[in-house]
Every structure is written in C-alpha cells, then in structure tokens.
C-alpha cells in the first residue's frame, strides 16, 4: 500500500469518526453521572439540522456549531425534566427523544433540503494542509482538533478535578452523594445538558465536514453506535477515541476496498453499508466475552433518584 493512499485513508477515517466521537464523549459524561440517555440519535439530528440551517443562513460555520450545541442541550432538557424531576422511565424517554428529534429535524429541515453549504475544512495554509505528507496532521476541520481536545479535557475533568469526582460519586452512589450534601439532580441536569451539547455538535459535523447538505435522517444511526461505543470503551475517554477511529475506518473501508479491486469488487455495496452496524454487534459480543460489563459500568446507571 502506498503512502498517498494510507494518508487519504487516515484523513477520511478521522473525518468519519469525529461526529461519533463528540456524541459518545457527551454520553460518556451523562452515563458517568448515572443516567442512560438513549436519545443521542435524536439530539444529533437536532444539532445537524440546526447547525446546517444557521451555517446556511449566516454563512458562518462557528455560529452553526454554537447553535447546534445550544439546540442539542435544549432538547436534552426535555429528557432531563422527565427523567429527573418526574422520574420517568429513562429507556422510554430516551426513545421518545429520538423520535422527537427525527420529527423535529425532518420538519425544520424541509426548506433547507438540497441546498449546499461549503465544507468547513482545514484553516491551515495550503503549504501545510495540501502538503503531500504533512497534510496527515493539518488537513482537518477545526472540529476535529476540538474533538481531540475534548477527549483530553473530559479525561482530565473526570480524573483530576473535584467536580469530576463529585459527578462520578453521583453516578456510583447517588444516596451517599446526596447525604453528604451534593445535589444529585443538579449534577445530572448539568451532565445531560453537556451530553446534549456534545451530541448537537456531533450532529453538526455531518453537514459541516462530511456531506455539505441537509438530508432527512442524515445521521443514519450514528447516535446508536455512539451508545455502543461508550460500552465498548468501558466508560474511559482514551479508549473511546480508539473505538471511534476504528468505526470510522470500518465506515470508510468501502471506498478503498472498491479502489483496490480484485476480490473486493464482488462484495455488494449493501454489505459494506451494513458493516458499521454488524461491527457494532460484534464488538458488543467481544466485550461481553472478555469481561463483565457490569464491573465497569457506573453503579447507578439508569436508576431514578428520588430525594427524600
């Protein structure tokens, strides 16, 4: 395999992984606080359509990303209010959020369907971003660098800060955290809002750096794959990065396998398109074979907390 092709594969892989990485990082924080939000797909769709609409109307992708984050966080508050304040079933409410996001994005996106925007690409000078070798470091959207920064920031927050410790305590033992005076619901509201903002940004990656337009159902189940990734990563940000890039590689393999020709040609494109979903199942199986998932999952995951 030649160097050019390898570099091209890396660049496509990183791009395809970035939305997953954002959404999964957000969900990781949510789950660490003891909440299971299955609405990631819905929040991503909301972020995707709002991010597209704002970028299209303002011409400024930064505004689009900001709006996507706010939109994702806003819809996540519906989930937060129902599950935290009204202690509704988290699984059902998460599903409802996904259905809501799909409906909202389809309705809101209707007038924007088929309209083009510019790809939010590299901001480095061409000498770097188009350099045959150095472009492997510089030919990315600022969103990509931001996602990498967030991997580090979330690791640092969870492991090295007092606030991160409190968040983990709330997820591991809500009643103890409550009895020593921390607001369990307050922490969880915050975590869910953060998760919503990250899913919104992840969704906005689709129109901004992958396919520069809005199509209904644009995220194609990536929100669900993000949920699986959190399990795969055993709730650790570093492993999440590896997992997301692995999925990015699988999702982009079709392009390069087709180019390679030979035996790959007879594999129907539908099988390639199924690969990320099949890989998700296989990965879930592998983790469960290797170690007990329950040992690394936050102890209070998915359980409602009622202060008394």
């Amino acid at each position: 395999m030649n160097v050019d092709l390898t570099i091209a594969i890396i660049i496509t892989m990183v791009g395809a992984s970035t939305p997953l990485l954002f959404a999964a990082l957000g969900e990781l924080v949510v789950e660490k606080s003891g909440v299971l939000n299955l609405g990631v797909e819905g929040m991503m769709l909301t972020g995707a359509v709002v991010g597209f609409a704002v970028t299209y109307t303002s011409g400024n992708p930064w505004l689009g990303i900001g709006a996507a984050a706010i939109a994702g966080a806003s819809v996540s508050m519906i989930f937060a209010f129902l599950t935290l304040s009204l202690s509704a079933n988290q699984v059902a409410t998460g599903l409802a959020l996904t259905i809501f996001g799909a409906g909202f994005s389809a309705l809101f996106g209707k007038p924007f369907t088929g309209k083009p925007i510019d790809i939010f690409g590299s901001v480095f000078p061409p000498a770097l971003s188009e350099h045959p070798y150095l472009r492997v470091f510089f030919d990315y959207s600022p969103l990509v660098y931001f996602s990498l920064f967030m991997v580090f920031a979330i690791w640092w927050f969870l492991q090295k800060t007092r606030a991160g410790l409190i968040l983990r305590a709330v997820g591991e033992n809500d009643h103890s955290a409550h009895s020593i005076g921390y607001s369990v619901l307050g922490v969880r509201y915050g975590a869910i809002a953060f998760g919503g903002a990250m899913a919104g940004i992840g969704g906005s990656c689709f129109p901004l750096i992958l396919t520069p337009q809005w199509v209904e159902g644009l995220t194609g189940g990536r929100g669900w794959i993000a949920l699986a990734l959190v399990v795969f990563a055993a709730w650790r940000p570093g492993r999440l990065l590896a997992g997301a890039y692995l999925f990015g590689l699988i999702a982009t393999m079709e392009l390069y396998a087709k180019a390679a020709g030979g035996a790959f040609r007879i594999i129907p494109s539908e099988l390639w398109a199924s690969l990320p979903y099949l890989a998700t199942i296989i990965v879930l199986v592998l983790i469960s074979l290797r170690h007990k998932i329950s040992s690394s999952a936050p102890a209070c995951l998915g359980k409602p907390f009622i202060p008394n």
């Binding site: 009204l86 509704a88 389809a106």
Partner: protein, 355 residues
C-alpha cells in the same frame, strides 16, 4: 415553590387509564400552540390531524389499513416491554418478515390455491423471528443489550431489502424500477368489505389483540411475563426462568412484526418496493406505551396513532403541513404520556421554600 414526589403504596388504577387520554388531549392543545409559534395554522393542523379522520367517514377505511400493522406490532412489543425486554428493532423484523413472505410469493408465483397466503404468513412470522434470533441469543447467553442489537439489525434489514430488490429480485418488466413483480391474485389479501380498501389485515389485528389479552390475563405465560418484569426476584424464587421469558417475548415480538410485514406486502403493496419500511415498527413503540402495554389498550392506541397518520396526509393536502409534523405530534404524545406516569406512581406534594 418546589414540588416533591412521594411514592404511592399502589400505582393508581384510575390514573393508569386517565393519563393516556389526558396525554392525547394535551398533545392537541400543546401541538396547536407549538405549531402556531412555528408559523403554521396550529388550530387547523390539530383539527385536520386529530378530528377529520374521525368525522369524515370516507377516511375510516384508511384508518383500518394503517391501524392494523401498528396494532399487531404493538401487541408483540408490549408483551416484551412488560417483561423489561426492550426490542426496539421491530422495524427490522417487519422488513425481514415482508421479505420472507415476498420470497415465498416469488417461488410460488406460478402456482395457485388457498394455501399460498397462509404459507406466506408463516414465512413472514418466521422471518421476523429469524431477525430477532441473534439479539435473543446474545442477550440470554452473553448478556448483550438487546436495545442496541435489535436496532443495529434494523439498519442491516434495510440494506438487505435494497440488495434484493435492486439485485436478484428486481422485476424484469419494471423498466429498471427497483421492485419485484406483482404478486398473483392468490397471493394478495382478500378485501373484506366490498368497495373499500379494507383487507383481511384489519380483522386479524383485532383478533390478535383479543387473543393476546386472553393469554396475558389467563395463562401462566402471561403471569410469568408480568412477574419477571415487575418483580424479577420473586420470579426467580417462583421458578420462572428469566432467559426463557426473554426468548419467548422476543420471538413473539419478532413473529408478530414479521407477520405484520407479510400482511403489508401482500396487502396494500402487492409487491416489494423500496418504500416498504414505512416506520410502523418505530411508531408501534409509541402505540405500545400509549396502550399501557395492555393488548386492548394497544388496540385503541393503534387507532389513535393511525388517526394521526391519516390526519397528517389530510393536513398535507388541505393546509400544506409537511408530513414530518405528524412525527412531532406523535413524539409529543409519548413525552406527555411519560410525564403523566408520575401521577400513576407518585403523589406530588408542593413544598414551600424553607427560610
């Protein structure tokens, strides 16, 4: 002012029945407000979506057609949800059921006889069961979460559908359209009310709901499902196998979704087309919850959701409301229902802020 939740000793029966009705009415009020703020004619939207399909008797046959698959899939899902088994990939099982029935129809295309439809029905149910087999196996043997596996397989089912109708199953006479040949007259569901579009699917759906009600309320299996779901420890103590319950509920859910797929492909479609995945499998999740996971409740909930679908089509032509608006109404309904659950299980106490 703040409020505090206090658990009721017994879930309120009254609220259990009242909240779904309340949720539907609140959806109409809130929906009118939301759509007015979005710049639509909110009041007309609510009238067209929720009332026109009921008032206009010409729309009743559409209701029957749309409600049938929703009820059949919803009944299957509700049995699983009762046992805390979260199959959310009914859409995939519905697609594969439709594909299996199509396969049989294509193989027997030159034959005739009354037995073709039952055979397609069995194939549909088996197809749905096959699609849920892997999630059931992984959940019981390896404790792999069935939410993710059933959903992932839905995306794979769509690809399988595309592969078949763009490839080996493409009709040679369709001028390049990705679709199969039309089924023969013995492979198409009979019309039960002359002069309408109501086919055998509608009465079958009612029958399935009643049958499921009898099984769930009168049989040991029904008791087992409810016990495993609401009191897993008691179920274990009583000797009910959790794994067996998971297997059975998932297979029933898959079989019913697959069977609904067969009824659709042999009913309104008459052939397999790319538009076959219509989202019934996802909407049936709302149907199951709105019906309070009770087969008869699901029957009514299926009709309510069918009303919104039919009404959505009406609103699209009369006031130009995009079809996607219906999805928003449906999601709103589920949100409000889940919010209403708090009234079933808790007493709300108003607490004045302490000084």
């Amino acid at each position: 002012m703040q409020f505090r939740l206090e658990k009721k000793l017994q879930p309120s029966k009254k609220m259990l029945f009242a909240t779904p009705v309340l949720a539907v009415f609140l959806t109409m009020i809130l929906g009118a407000m939301v759509f007015t703020t979005l710049g639509f004619d909110g009041l007309s939207a609510v009238r067209e979506i929720f009332l026109t399909p009921i008032i206009n008797s010409l729309k009743w046959q559409d209701l029957a057609v749309k409600a049938a698959p929703l009820i059949i899939i919803g009944v299957g899902l509700s049995i699983g949800y009762r046992a805390n088994v979260w199959n959310i990939g009914a859409e995939g099982q519905y697609i594969v059921g439709g594909l299996a029935a199509t396969g049989v129809a294509l193989l027997t295309h030159d034959l005739s006889g009354w037995w073709l439809l039952p055979l397609m029905g069995i194939a549909g149910a088996l197809g749905g069961m096959a699609w849920v087999f892997v999630p059931a196996f992984l959940r019981t043997k390896l404790k792999v979460n069935e939410i993710l596996t059933t959903l992932m397989l839905t995306y794979v089912a769509v690809q399988l559908l595309n592969f078949l109708i763009f490839g080996p199953w493409k009709s040679p006479t369709s001028y390049g359209q990705p679709q199969t040949v039309l089924f023969n007259s013995d492979q198409i569901l009979p019309y039960i009310i002359p002069g309408t579009i109501v086919q055998a699917g509608a009465p079958i759906a009612v029958l399935i709901a009643i049958l499921a009600w009898i099984i769930m309320s009168r049989s040991v299996f029904g008791f087992q499902v409810k016990t495993v779901g609401s009191a897993p420890n008691a179920a274990r103590y009583g000797g009910f196998s959790e794994n067996k319950t998971i297997w059975l509920t998932l297979l029933i859910g898959g079989a019913l979704a697959g069977f609904a797929g067969m009824l659709e492909v042999a009913g309104p479609f008459n052939r397999m087309v790319p538009q076959f995945p219509s989202g019934y499998g996802f909407t049936a999740i709302i149907v199951a919850f709105l019906g309070r996971l009770h087969p008869i409740g699901v029957l009514f909930a299926g009709i309510v959701l069918a009303i919104t679908f039919v009404g959505g089509e009406v609103a699209q032509t009369t006031i130009g409301l995009p079809n996607a608006a219906v999805g928003l109404f449906q999601a709103m309904m589920l949100f409000l229902l889940l919010a209403g659950d708090v009234l079933v299980r808790y007493n709300i106490k108003i607490v004045r802020a302490k000084r």
